[in-house]
């Protein structure tokens, strides 16, 4: 009976996923065979080390409890936003195990390795995620982002607020997060604020983009073995794990740090981790122009848009076509790029201008020494 149920769910109801990968633009498309519901998510790749560094810096500066609370909120907003982008709705409880497995598979398939096992107790509405070596928390020993994410996703699926707690031990070998509807409420996301912008589709999925096969892309990085898949299913870019996420994640990180007035934590962590990553990626190339080329190739391959860099004296301008558009703007991208450029020139740059336009989609960032 279970096999028939799985068969029917897979063949008739579960959406098919296609990943579209072009230079600077990555998105996935979910489409159902029946009911014609399709959704698209603009995806960016992030360095696991960077995200972990942000979390570790937060723990160092705020203390473990406050940092966990912060990342739980970011995770829960992320989970809800992820489901809203996918146009997900409440599901009947008898298909919850299969739906959770489908969602987890989608994450795992993109290198966001989480929860090898998902156990659903339908009667008690308890969902247990267990596994090992989960991305991000294997480096921070803090699964609060993942717990929040699970809670956010389940809240949408069950149509009621769900919270999650971590029961990990022997990190990273025994990861365990338990999500339940009747746990004391920790954080309730504002769904209205997390809904994608009405122009999300128009801005993030450009049509008739000219062919740019000569530029770097995720697929090209894989063909050239710059990105490989490790045995544990994680994507590795020259030894650094990267993971995909809907581009909203950067806005959520920025928003929560700004809300607590601690953007400095983000600054510190991004600058430090970007320096380490770029130094490693460009160690054979001492020339500034080569390091800039590496940055522009990274922007292209990781789905952050199509960049063009112009340097004149003390001013550096980046024009990024088709950047991932979000409600809250581009402050995270501006900060990230500043961090990389600062690593190139070994001194902190100042962002003097951030301008964006929608038609055609373009982000202009100007930095000075």
């Amino acid at each position: 009976m279970k096999n028939i149920k799985n068969y029917l769910l897979n063949k008739l109801f579960f959406p098919k996923v296609a990943v579209i990968d072009q230079p600077g633009i990555i998105y996935n498309v979910l489409s159902r065979r029946y009911g014609h519901v399709s959704s698209k998510k603009r995806i960016v790749f992030l360095f696991e080390d960077m995200f972990a560094e942000i979390q570790k810096e937060a723990i160092a500066q705020l203390g473990k409890e406050k940092a966990s609370e912060l990342f739980y909120k970011i995770g829960k907003d992320f989970g809800v936003s992820f489901m809203l982008l996918g146009k997900a709705k409440k599901v009947p409880s008898f298909v919850l195990p299969e739906v959770m497995e489908f969602i987890a598979d989608n994450f795992r398939g993109g290198g966001f390795s989480i929860a090898e096992n998902i156990d659903v107790d339908i009667k008690q509405n308890i969902i247990t995620f267990s596994g090992k070596n989960n991305v991000i928390c294997r480096k921070t020993a803090d699964p609060s982002f993942f717990a929040g994410g699970a809670a956010g996703i389940l809240s949408l699926l069950l149509g009621k607020n769900v919270e999650a707690v971590s029961k990990c031990c022997n990190c990273p070998n025994e990861c365990k997060v338990i999500a339940k509807a009747d746990l004391p409420s920790k954080y309730i996301p504002d769904v209205n604020k997390l809904m994608p912008d009405k122009n999300y589709g128009q801005l993030n999925f450009p049509k008739d983009v000219e062919s740019m096969d000569h530029l770097a892309s995720f697929g090209k990085f894989m063909r050239f073995k710059k990105i490989k898949i490790s045995v544990s299913g994680k994507f590795q870019l020259n030894g650094f794990a990267i993971f995909p996420a809907p581009s909203q994640i950067t806005c959520l990180i920025m928003k929560h740090f700004e809300e607590i007035g601690r953007r400095d934590i983000l600054n510190e962590a991004l600058f430090r981790s970007s320096d380490k990553i770029l130094d490693t990626l460009s160690k054979e190339f001492p020339e500034v122009k080569d390091k800039i080329k590496i940055i522009t190739s990274l922007i292209l391959a990781l789905g952050w848009g199509i960049p063009d860099c112009q340097k004149k004296g003390e001013i550096i301008k980046f024009y990024i076509r088709y950047p991932p558009f979000n409600k809250s703007g581009f402050h995270y991208q501006a900060l990230q790029l500043n961090a990389f450029l600062s690593s190139v020139f070994k001194k902190k740059l100042k962002l003097v201008e951030l301008k964006s336009q929608e038609n055609p989609p373009l982000l202009k960032l100007t930095y000075s020494f």
Partner: protein
Amino acid sequence: MMAIMRESTGIRKFDSMLEGGFPKGSVIGLTGPPGIGKSIFNLHFILEGARLNQKCVFISLEEPRSNIDRMIQQFEFADEFYRYEKKKKIIIKCMDYQEYEKAYFSIFNIINKDKKIERLVIDSFNVFFASLISVDAGTNSNELAARRMINKSFSLLRRDNLTTLIVLEKLDNHKVHYSYNIPYMVDGIVSMDFLSLGAIERMIFIPKMRWTNQYKESISYDISSKGIKILQEEE
């Protein structure tokens, strides 16, 4: 089971990625961005055929003869190449844009009349249709005519003892390129690409090759005075 006869490409390590070479009698598409080395690959293929005492024809629809000569003279095999051309083992035919409308008929006239031709290179195949179709306008009747021409071309090229390499330039509008199904019609595709990440790296990849258990990974190559050199994979 009959063994597939193969034609060496002239690049030894590349042949080993193809169980010895291209299947004899096949039509192979060669793709890659401008300047990647497709024309140099063509030279290897033609020269190797001449070395094997085969009659080889190189048709250039984009470069004048002077440019082809400049390219050949960069390499150590230039003298050998010209010796074979003198002996009529290698025939180079260049057509300029004024002859494009005649190109189709003229090329297939050559192939039909001379059954001794065993290797043929057409650089580039896209140019065949430049005079017939306007990429911007793309009327239905022109599209139909182009499709008929492509299909007929392939049926004329598929001859037992003729192995053909056609250069497929990527058009700006992907849709035009793929709407004629050319990548599906060829028997194999060799894809050359580069990545600029500090230094320029070149890779060659075989996404498709009928009747062949081809090497599935992409492999680095370089270009030197000897031509294309496949680089040893790192352990």
